[in-house]
């Protein structure tokens, strides 16, 4: 984790930073209208606070030349406020966090992107989608329908690749916050083979989804069911399922990030992350290591929250395909050797321009997707006081 940021430059001037933040500010306030067309008082306050929050963070990214620490503030806020708004909505609509199996089968569950890759194969074989949500507009509690959500996801993914996992995913923030808490990692030596975990979960859950004709990951392995909607425990099986969710959440999202200072659920478990890695090949943005500047001190490797850098990959001048473009390595490098890069261009030629182009795309997505979730969570809290 990037515990120490070593800016290679003097802070950018306030005026220039403001000018560079202007497009994001306009986008934020445009989105504010989108979040709440006819807001009540708490929603209006939440929307303004969220828009200002996103603008200030982007301004700081511009002023300090640093990405990771400001993005982390947003991401942790997203991770913490998502359950607040979500649980409130679920309880308001259903009266409980527990989802009965018949609701799941009927597709009356909120949209979640994680099962998407697990269900492609079952859909191809059976010509049916065993997805716990509706494909139609106004279907499910998300209201948007799976098709619309999947289209948004695809559009974003093509541009930022696995950047989704650092700028849009509403699950990763809790563990990133946990990983940021200790000053030093207690467990430092991690077998690099655990990096293959997400692929194994993806393979096993895809095959089991195919065999059982149900979303096996949602039914059995999702750690975030512990903070979103669990299976209504009407019998022993339901209790076992919920027990698994809680154990996985406690281990992968709380305990292991505290011990390792890594995003362990994302790095070693999340099947969607594995799938999203494939789209790093389609994204025009990536992170490279300028071999002419690299010493190599491996600070970038140590700072990476998902172990997406190895000594071999550094020697090759690139990150592994699991890179989430969080910016930790770029910020941690004392020699400016880890750089943002646009495919097809020379490495380390105008890397700040590449960073800006990536950040405009990623932050616009973060505001649109994460901003609405943060605003919803804030509005839920403010509603109690206002």
């Amino acid at each position: 984790m990037a515990t120490k940021v070593l800016p290679a430059h003097e802070p950018r001037s306030i005026g220039r930073s403001l000018l560079m933040t202007l497009p994001i500010a306009l986008w934020s306030f445009l989105m504010l209208h989108g979040w709440y067309p006819q807001p009540n008082r708490s929603q209006l306050m939440a929307g303004i606070l969220t828009a200002a929050f996103m603008v200030v963070l982007f301004f700081m990214m511009m002023r300090t030349w640093s990405t990771y620490r400001w993005r982390r503030v947003f991401f942790v806020a997203l991770g913490l406020l998502f359950p607040v708004g979500f649980i409130h909505t679920v309880i308001a609509m259903r009266g409980t966090m527990g989802i009965p199996i018949e609701e799941m089968i009927a597709g009356r569950t909120p949209f979640c992107f994680i099962p998407i890759p697990l269900l492609i194969l079952p859909a191809a074989f059976t010509k049916a989608i065993v997805f716990p949500g509706s494909i139609l507009p106004n279907g499910g509690m998300s209201g948007g329908g799976m098709a619309a959500m999947a289209a948004i996801w695809l559009a974003i993914t093509i541009v930022v690749g696995k950047g989704w996992c650092s700028y849009a995913c509403f699950f990763g923030g809790i563990e990133e916050g946990m990983a940021a808490l200790p000053a030093k990692a207690t467990v430092r030596k991690i077998d690099s083979r655990w990096r293959y975990g997400p692929w194994a979960v993806l393979l096993a859950m895809t095959l089991l989804s195919l065999g059982l004709f149900e979303s096996a990951y949602c039914m059995w392995l999702c750690p975030f069911k512990a903070v979103s909607e669990y299976v209504a425990a009407r019998n022993t099986v339901g209790m076992i399922q919920n027990g698994i969710f809680v154990l996985l959440f406690a281990a992968l999202v709380i305990a292991l990030p505290l011990l390792t200072k890594k995003r362990t659920q994302c790095a070693f478990f999340c099947p969607f992350g594995a799938f999203q890695s494939l789209f790093n090949k389609t994204s025009i943005f990536d992170v490279k290591i300028d071999k002419t500047r690299c010493t190599p001190c491996v600070l970038c490797q140590k700072s990476c929250p998902t172990m997406a850098l190895t000594e071999e990959s550094i020697a090759k001048g690139e990150t592994l395909m699991s890179c989430m473009k969080c910016g930790a390595c770029v910020d941690a490098c004392p020699k400016d050797a880890a750089v943002w890069h646009i495919r097809g261009t020379e490495v380390a030629v105008k890397p700040e321009r590449a960073r800006l182009m990536f950040l405009y795309a990623a932050w616009a997505m973060a505001i649109m997707f994460g901003g609405s979730i943060i605003a919803q969570g804030l509005a839920t809290i403010l509603h109690v006081f206002v």
Partner: protein, 208 residues
């Protein structure tokens, strides 16, 4: 019927076949041999089941308690074999065929039975939906030979759907692929273990 049920058969056997096949070495011939062994013992399982079930006269009216026992035992055996397979692949790594390392029935030495054979047989006797459907149809046969013939033809129809899996031989194997296959096998084995134990517990507690 076999052709029509093929996708369901692939879905049912996929969790066992795919990771174990991925754990094999690269090579079309090697993977083809693995698949052949798997399918051959699957056929053996089919025929054995057809013969026993027909002889006992319970192919159609197979009662839930017996079915639960079979489900539970097969799931537990599959879990055990997959665990063993994942472990043996780790030991054999990329240098030797994992299935040859697998020691199962009969102990060590010359009595080694390839993993593909064990897995094929166990999936062959597991009561997946297409298999039960075929069982109902076979029960109408005049004698045991006709029932077995029906199952053999049914097997041929479903097997066509498995042929593309030989293409896994073209996939390059490295530490990443082998490790992913091993980890997936462990996860799937845990599921089978759970399914087997739950069936046993349910049967003990509620009698079905």
């Amino acid at each position: 019927m076999g052709l029509a049920s093929g996708p369901a058969c692939v879905a049912s056997c996929g969790p066992v076949l795919v990771p174990s096949l991925l754990a094999e070495r690269t090579g079309l011939r090697l993977n083809g041999r693995y698949l052949s062994t798997f399918l051959a013992t699957r056929l053996l399982g089919y025929l054995l089941f057809a013969a026993v079930a027909w002889e006992l006269g319970t192919l159609v009216s197979f009662r839930t308690p017996e079915r639960s026992w079979i489900f539970a035992v097969i799931h537990l055996l599959l879990a055990g074999v997959l665990f063993r397979y994942a472990w043996s692949v780790g030991r054999a790594c990329n240098h030797a065929c994992a299935s040859q390392e697998l020691v199962t029935i009969g102990g060590a030495g010359s009595h080694r039975i390839p993993g593909a054979a064990v897995l094929g047989f166990l999936t062959g006797v597991s009561l997946c939906p297409p298999f039960v459907a075929a069982g109902v149809r076979a029960a109408e046969a005049a004698n045991v030979a006709a029932a077995m013939l029906f199952f053999a033809v049914f097997f041929l129809g479903t097997s066509l759907w498995f042929v593309p899996f030989a293409g896994f031989g073209w996939l390059r194997r490295n530490e990443a692929v082998t490790t992913v296959a091993r980890m997936a096998m462990v996860l799937i084995a845990v599921y089978y273990l759970y399914a087997g134990l739950m069936t046993l517990i349910r049967k003990s507690a509620y009698g079905y």
